[in-house]
């Protein structure tokens, strides 16, 4: 898993599969980075991701709870149709912005 911090913004490059097995590490690493860098904005980058279950939703909800207290926001980028479906079904689209990139 890769993470990138730019000022108060953390980008989490999610792995190919987001499930209970790798959610744990993601959560721990992200929280350390959020605390250490006073992160307000978290971007979940789904570029590599083709599978996610409700464990991933747990990770997103948890990070939202943290940054919301600081007036922050969460974003999703590069989500494919499947990931968008999961995010919509679980109500995540109500708490996070889905960034649609323009077709080039």
């Amino acid at each position: 898993m890769k993470y990138q911090v730019q000022e108060n913004c953390l980008t989490i490059y999610l792995p190919r599969e987001v499930d209970h097995h790798n959610a744990e590490d993601m959560r721990k690493n992200a929280d350390t980075l959020i605390e250490r860098n006073h992160i307000k904005f978290v971007i979940f980058d789904f570029e590599m991701t083709d599978f996610m279950d409700s464990s991933g939703i747990g990770v997103i909800m948890g990070r939202y709870r943290i940054v919301r207290l600081l007036g922050g926001e969460i974003w999703a980028v590069h989500a494919n149709a499947r990931i968008k479906k999961i995010l919509t079904m679980s109500g995540m689209t109500k708490i996070m912005q889905i960034y649609e990139e323009d077709e080039v």
Partner: protein, 151 residues
């Protein structure tokens, strides 16, 4: 006589086996010629059920989880079974957003996902004996429609 086919796998409840379980089920169902969407639906549902067995059924102790898949015509049935603690109140457990382990930051959407992605979900559970989740899905519904549209 409809074509039938069955398989069963038994594996240890390591969280690393969650990925193995859903891939094994997905690969068994390919003989039904499913769409990508249908495979994803089943994979997600299996992942939810196995994760429940690992976290809740066995509370992260290592015991056996078994998955039995059955094909009957276009009907695909998958059964995920553990011999763990069991569920006291199945109805409550299946309520969206309910989680018995809020400290683990679970979303409480496991059963909701299973129900959304499969046609039918049944849960049998007995305290101290274990839990069986049986899910059914008809594969290939509306495929014809889709093919016609592409002309």
């Amino acid at each position: 006589m409809k074509n039938t086919n069955e398989m069963e796998i038994i594996f240890d409840s390591f969280s690393s086996n969650e990925g193995f379980a859903r891939v094994a089920v997905a690969s068994f169902m390919t003989q039904l010629n499913p769409t990508v969407e249908e495979v994803s639906d089943v994979k997600t549902a299996v992942s939810e059920a196995v994760t429940n067995s690992v976290i809740h059924g066995y509370e992260n102790e290592i015991h056996k989880v078994s998955i039995r898949c059955r094909i009957e015509g276009q009907q695909f049935t998958v059964e995920v079974r553990d011999s763990g603690v069991g569920i006291e109140d199945v109805e409550q457990a299946m309520t969206p957003l309910y989680t018995s382990k809020p400290e683990l930051e679970r979303s409480g959407m496991g059963f909701a996902f299973m129900e959304a992605f499969m046609d039918q979900v049944e849960v049998e559970s007995e305290l101290g004996k274990g839990t069986t989740v049986r899910m059914k899905k008809t594969i290939g519904k509306g495929r014809e429609l889709w093919t016609t549209q592409s002309l």
